[in-house]
């Protein structure tokens, strides 16, 4: 495969597409598939075929195409006709009307307006191909300019130049912590080792987050290209994509993408005639949230139990099978190709001073437009909620926005005008995380929200270190007690004590960040906790003591310290 051959494939594909006068695009990402977009696709196919037969056969001038996520998941199934008309809530029965509208007047009852902030305010870099290309056809990706960045890197650049371009872009890890990507790449490239690995972390597990899934389902080749460029830069020749087994559609499309890339010589030995070899394989996660933590993820790939280990040594020095390993998130790898194509400077122009580029958010909760959005860093929460999100659902009052999943925090209305970037979120007591954003209205009880996330962390704690294993259990118990309106002020003190313990003594990020939802709600919604423990009422009317009250199972006077029976022994060796 040479740049010329790549161009030939792109040209052939463009010619093939030009044969069709009209194009109907049906969203085939998990969100729309779950509301029967496959049925819509079948009905459209049938309708187009019927019309063609009625017209006496011959060349068909209308293509019904499967594409990836179009963003507005709340309006699914989504269908785009031509370049202008987007339709929402389409059913198979609508197929005749839609096909009829091709090249004519749009079907007004289904139209989804695209001149609204939800579409206008977005800045698509990672998602540039989502909703446009067929994720199961490599030709479509190549026609859209795919794999040219890889050619550029292999042909015209040295690994060092690639790394400095990434460093110049200011890209930071999109998995949550925001570690500078260029620095990570440079560390791995300099680490001594006979073999190096590149690993893509696609174990997205935050409740309410689906950015990585959508990218993998809509544009899998973009991730492959990013990994290939990374492998070239750090000198790796083997890689893994660790994807959770709960994403069957993403897995299927990744498998197809890998096969296609291998067939074209974009994966394998002597890629594009260069000396570089890179072999890529999938590993499926077995449903443990903690496997998103890099050392646990590596243990899982190695076939061991997915539990974290102390760092250092960092995976960049001693990672998979003891070799230097580069681990980045799906979105990070998906940002690489555009950076190489347009240059680091171009990317660094987008965003804020310390957080460059764009970020994909999974907007969920009580806003009108839920779905996948990509915005420049520094967009304010108000723009996210009231413009892109289309305002609060059912005209309700805004209460809080939760970012960063179970490791993040809840931010109240006073932060609505805060530009969203890594620093500002951290200062406010939350984190960027992988990009989940859950908007909550006045019907949400913040204590109950904290309890929900603690329940999640308790269930997902691996059980290796004591503070996380036992601490999350106790914190959950205390929150449950408070939401059952049996709590006391002492319980809140103990929550604070345990939060401090977990944050500072847990082994990995899961335990260290597990108290964040509690700490942020205690900080900004203290009056709600107070109402629960002092007046034994829930201001939002969510917590109901009749539900699941397990006071009967508790020992009498549980708040008094219990003397421990240490026996009379003198103790053993230490």
């Amino acid at each position: 495969m040479s740049p010329e051959e790549l161009e030939q494939i792109a040209e052939a594909e463009r010619e093939r597409q030009a044969k069709f006068k009209h194009r109907i695009k049906v969203c085939m990402a998990a969100g729309c598939v779950s509301c029967q977009s496959e049925g819509v696709k079948a009905a459209l196919d049938k309708e187009v075929a019927a019309r063609q037969a009625a017209a006496g056969g011959g060349e068909c001038d209308c293509e019904v195409k499967c594409v990836g996520c179009m963003g507005l998941c709340a309006g699914g199934p989504l269908v785009a006709v031509g370049d202008s008309a987007l339709y929402q809530h389409v059913t198979p029965e609508d197929a005749p009307a839609l096909v009829e509208s091709v090249g004519g007047a749009p079907v007004s009852r289904l139209v989804c307006p695209t001149d609204v902030p939800f579409f206008q305010k977005q800045k698509k870099v990672v998602l540039e191909n989502c909703g446009n290309i067929d994720p199961e056809r490599i030709e479509d990706y190549i026609a859209a300019g795919g794999y040219t960045s890889l050619m550029q890197a292999l042909g015209d650049m040295t690994p060092l130049q690639v790394i400095s371009e990434i460093t110049r872009s200011g890209l930071r890890g999109r998995g949550g912590a925001g570690y500078p990507t260029g620095l990570k790449w440079s560390t791995v490239s300099k680490a001594p080792g006979e073999k190096k690995y590149v690993v893509c972390n696609a174990d997205e597990g935050d409740p309410g987050a689906f950015m990585d899934r959508s990218v993998l389902e809509s544009d899998p080749h973009r991730v492959l290209e990013g990994m290939l460029i990374a492998a070239f830069a750090v000198g790796a020749n083997e890689g893994y994509i660790y994807v959770r087994a709960e994403y069957p559609l993403a897995i299927k499309r990744l498998r197809i993408a890998i096969k296609q890339a291998e067939r074209l010589g974009l994966l394998g030995n002597n890629i594009c005639g260069s000396r570089m070899s890179f072999h890529l394989d999938l590993r499926l996660g077995a449903g443990a949230f903690v496997c998103g933590e890099e050392t646990a993820l590596l243990a899982s790939i190695e076939g061991r139990r997915g539990i974290p280990r102390p760092r250092p040594p960092y995976p960049a020095m001693e990672g998979l099978f003891g070799q230097p390993t580069l681990i980045n998130n799906v979105e990070t790898f998906a940002s690489i190709a555009p950076i190489i194509r347009h240059g680091g400077e171009w990317y660094a122009q987008i965003g804020t001073e310390k957080s460059k580029g764009t970020k994909v958010f999974a907007l969920a909760g009580s806003v009108n437009n839920t779905g996948l959005v990509e915005v420049a860093m520094g967009t304010t929460l108000r723009e996210m909620v009231y413009e892109i999100g289309g305002g609060m659902a059912e005209g309700r009052q805004f209460k809080a926005v939760q970012t960063g999943g179970p490791s993040g925090g809840c931010l109240p209305a006073q932060f609505l005008d805060m530009p969203v970037d890594y620093e500002n979120l951290a200062r406010a007591g939350s984190i960027m995380g992988s990009g989940g954003m859950i908007v909550m209205d006045d019907t949400a009880c913040m204590v109950d929200v904290a309890r929900f996330f603690m329940d999640f962390c308790m269930g997902e704690s691996c059980g290796k270190c004591v503070p996380c294993r036992v601490g999350t259990y106790h914190m959950h118990g205390l929150l449950k007690k408070i939401t059952q309106r049996r709590g006391s002020t002492a319980d809140i003190t103990q929550l604070e004590e345990l939060s401090d313990l977990l944050k500072n003594t847990s082994l990995c990020g899961l335990g260290q960040s597990a108290p964040n939802p509690v700490l942020s709600t205690l900080r900004y919604f203290a009056e709600e906790y107070k109402a629960h423990v002092e007046e034994h009422r829930c201001p939002a009317g969510v917590c109901n003591s009749e539900n699941g009250d397990d006071a009967a199972n508790e020992p009498p006077n549980p708040d008094a310290p219990v003397a421990i029976d240490l026996g009379s022994g003198k103790g053993g060796d230490q």
Binding site: A288, V290, R305, R309, P310, P312, M458, G459, E460, S461, C462, G463, K464, C465, V466, P467, R469, V470, G471, T472, Y473, H474, G477, Q494, E497, L498, L501, N504, T505, S506, L507, E554, P555, P558, P561, V562, A563, I564, D565, L566, G567, S568, G569, K570, G571, G572, D573, Q574
Partner: protein, 239 residues
């Protein structure tokens, strides 16, 4: 041959020490009689950093570091005991006491239990977190040994000694989080295990009374673990 650059000098609690580059903070502390509490660590087994009792403050690091798995570095300044560290250590021990059913006076390891010793050393008399009182099994199916999950603190010493020293890998974990349990083979009764060699190392490395020999009185159930470092050392020398 040891090159000069492989010897590091560091400060622990304002005292100067030198150490080999592959030694941990805990190794140096142990050699010099500085007490750092720990319960998952055992000389001769690989460190796991799980109990978090040995966390120490290192100047220049914004996180607390586990002494058992942090290698020494040139110019390192370590503080092993502060009011904050002691509070965390007491909290962690209290959490361990609430997790399962630890009643020293009726335990076969009374008097030679590491959990008990640590609680005494750190002046713990009361637990202010709520007890879980789980209902756990005792597996007495093995001819010579028993496992009482009520006294297990999930330190993974038995798992490591069985895998790393004996090479049988009979022990492992089941479940996760608060539901974790050590198991023999695929959670089958210990007595029916075909991989267990009956060597008893797991019993002797167990810091509490979770693993014990049958038919021994409290006074007799002393645990001997001096053999571990010798075993590893001899194997290294003869390999």
């Amino acid at each position: 041959m040891i090159r000069a650059s492989t010897i590091k000098t560091l400060k622990i609690d304002d005292r100067d020490f030198s150490a080999r580059h592959d030694e941990t903070i805990l190794d140096v502390a142990r050699q010099n009689g500085i007490f750092i509490p720990k319960i998952c660590d055992l000389k001769g087994l690989s460190p796991v950093g799980a109990c978090r009792l040995c966390l120490v403050e290192v100047k220049g690091s914004n996180r607390l570091l586990p002494a058992c798995s942090t290698l020494v570095e040139e110019g390192m300044e370590v503080t092993t005991t502060t009011e904050r560290l002691q509070r965390y250590r007491r909290n962690i021990l209290e959490l361990l006491f609430t997790e399962r059913n630890h009643v020293c006076s009726v335990c076969v390891s009374n008097g030679h239990c590491e959990l008990q010793t640590l609680a005494q050393k750190l002046d713990i008399t009361h637990v202010h977190f709520r007890y879980r009182y789980p209902n756990l099994d005792v597996d007495a199916s093995h001819d010579r040994f028993s496992v009482d999950h009520n006294r297990c603190i999930l330190c993974s010493r038995c798992v490591r000694v069985c895998d790393e020293i004996e090479g049988a890998h009979t022990w492992d974990f089941m479940g996760r989080g608060i539901e974790s349990l050590v198991i023999t083979d695929l959670a089958e009764p210990w007595g029916t295990s075909e991989t267990c060699t009956g060597c008893g190392k797991c019993v002797h490395v167990c810091p509490t009374g979770a693993l014990f020999e049958k038919g021994k009185s409290v006074a007799e159930m002393l645990k001997r673990r001096e053999f571990l470092p010798y075993l590893t050392q001899m194997r290294e020398e003869h390999s």
